[in-house]
């Protein structure tokens, strides 16, 4: 019997769903074993019945529920709770669902400050009152899904890698646990490290790097040591994929594209504080942390939920 799957997108851009499609050929292998019963991004299934006849929200029963996106408003909170009720196994897909993601950077301000900025102090729009009718109310901050309901499996990434989605689904189908590695991106990175910065200032993201595309990785110096902020040391490994073709080296995704790690896989283990760890890590190789622009947001870029980013306390 096919496994019934419900998929739901909340506070998200839709990239995680594209990532599911991006699985490619392998998707055809696992597709016969899956039956999608609810997936707003692909099919029309209404919460209150096709004609709006029901008086309460309903999502069909499913064996596996996949949620992408964090929780920002009342509606999303209700949907997440309903998904938990109807799904035996709940998967959070993508950094937004796992840690709050990019939208959770808004957690640095209160909702009042945000709406005030957007509706009244934005130079490109006309001032207006904050809309209240016919739209769900905002919660006090952006929540990761696991702050609202229990979650069984997390697949981080922005977007998550198709390999990992296949692996997680296969594990589920075979009844095996899907466990993320507890090591950092640096542990899987083949770039050459000398444990000391090459000297100079911290570079901004678009400043040129000393790299030769196509050179073997052992000739490429660690990006961080070249002065480019790479969040690899405090980010969970896994983006380099589980399977590597013969003769190919395992390289983290962004590094492979000659860009520094952005930290989308989140903290290495639960309860870690990447901001603090990263500050120590930057200074330990001899770079100046003071030069990191917008430190707090940058080092919490994908993980602002789960109370990592909050409005600063008011000083008297």
């Amino acid at each position: 019997m096919a496994v019934r799957v419900a998929e739901e997108w909340l506070n998200i851009c839709g990239g995680c769903e594209v990532s599911i499609l991006d699985i490619g050929d392998q998707l055809l292998d696992i597709l016969p074993a899956l039956e999608f019963v609810h997936m707003p991004v692909l099919m029309d299934s209404k919460y209150y019945g096709q004609l709006g006849e029901r008086d309460h929200m309903e999502i069909p029963e499913a064996d596996v529920g996949i949620i992408s996106g964090g929780i920002r408003n009342d509606e999303e909170k209700k949907i997440a709770e309903e998904m938990r009720k109807k799904c035996k196994t709940l998967i959070t897909l993508g950094s937004c669902a796992c840690f709050g993601g990019i939208p959770a950077m808004a957690n640095m301000w209160s909702v009042d400050e945000l709406t005030d900025k957007v509706y009244r102090h934005c130079s490109t729009t006309e001032s207006a009152a904050t809309p209240t009718e016919n739209i769900p109310g905002l919660l006090d901050r952006v929540y990761a899904v696991d702050e609202v309901v229990d979650v069984d499996v997390t697949i981080p990434g922005c977007p998550p890698s198709p390999d990992m989605i296949v692996e997680a689904l296969t594990c589920l189908l075979e009844g095996k646990p899907f466990i993320l590695p507890e090591k950092s991106v640096c542990d899987e990175c083949p770039a050459k490290r000398e444990k000391k910065a090459a000297g100079g200032d911290i570079k901004r993201p678009l400043q040129p790097l000393d790299i030769k595309v196509g050179e073997p990785w052992e000739n490429t110096r660690c990006f961080m040591e070249q002065g480019v902020l790479c969040i690899g040391p405090v980010t969970r490994a896994g983006c380099s994929g589980t399977t590597v073709e013969e003769g190919e080296e395992k390289v983290p995704r962004c590094i492979k594209g000659y860009m520094p790690c952005r930290g989308c896989f989140g903290p290495i283990r639960k309860g870690a504080n990447p901001l603090v760890d990263m500050v120590s890590s930057i200074s330990s190789i001899g770079l100046d942390v003071k030069q990191v622009v917008d430190r707090r947001a940058l080092l919490n870029r994908y993980i602002g939920g789960q109370n990592r980013l909050k409005p600063l306390p008011v000083r008297n």
Binding site: N273, V276, V279, S283, V289
Partner: protein
């Protein structure tokens, strides 16, 4: 709690070899210093990770002091220099958390400086009293 009766909670990490002995000397010499200090003995000031300091400050303490041996006197040769290297990072993190940088202090206290230890604790208590309770304070 009324404003004037604010008694700060200050966590002090003292290294086993110098500063803890210094604090001991302050005690055995009967030098008075405020009771707002809670001393935690650690083997070396260099083993106090920034994570511990940040956790302490965000989970209820009003201030944190790390006391270690004078540079050059470290039992482990350069543990206190490691602590010194971390100082700036910790101060920056306090900014990120919206705390005053004065709430963290790294000081050198040797085993013979009981007087200095007591003076330091008195000074810090006064300073934190002037700053008021930490916004993360739980008391």
């Amino acid at each position: 709690m009324p404003e004037d009766s604010f008694e700060p909670l200050i966590i002090t990490f003292c290294c086993n070899w110098c500063s803890y002995a210094g604090a001991d000397l302050a005690g055995t010499s009967r030098i008075q210093y405020p009771a707002s200090i809670r001393i935690i003995r650690v083997m070396c000031s260099g083993m106090v990770h920034p994570n511990v300091v940040i956790d302490t400050l965000t989970k209820g303490a009003d201030a944190v002091i790390i006391c270690g041996c004078h540079p050059g006197d470290c039992h482990y040769l350069e543990g206190n220099l490691k602590a010194e290297m971390r100082r700036e990072g910790i101060e920056l993190l306090l900014d990120d958390l919206g705390l005053e940088q004065e709430r963290f202090r790294l000081e050198w206290v040797s085993a013979s400086e009981g007087q200095k230890f007591a003076a330091l604790m008195t000074e810090m208590t006064d300073k934190v009293k002037a700053l008021g309770p930490s916004p993360y304070s739980t008391s």
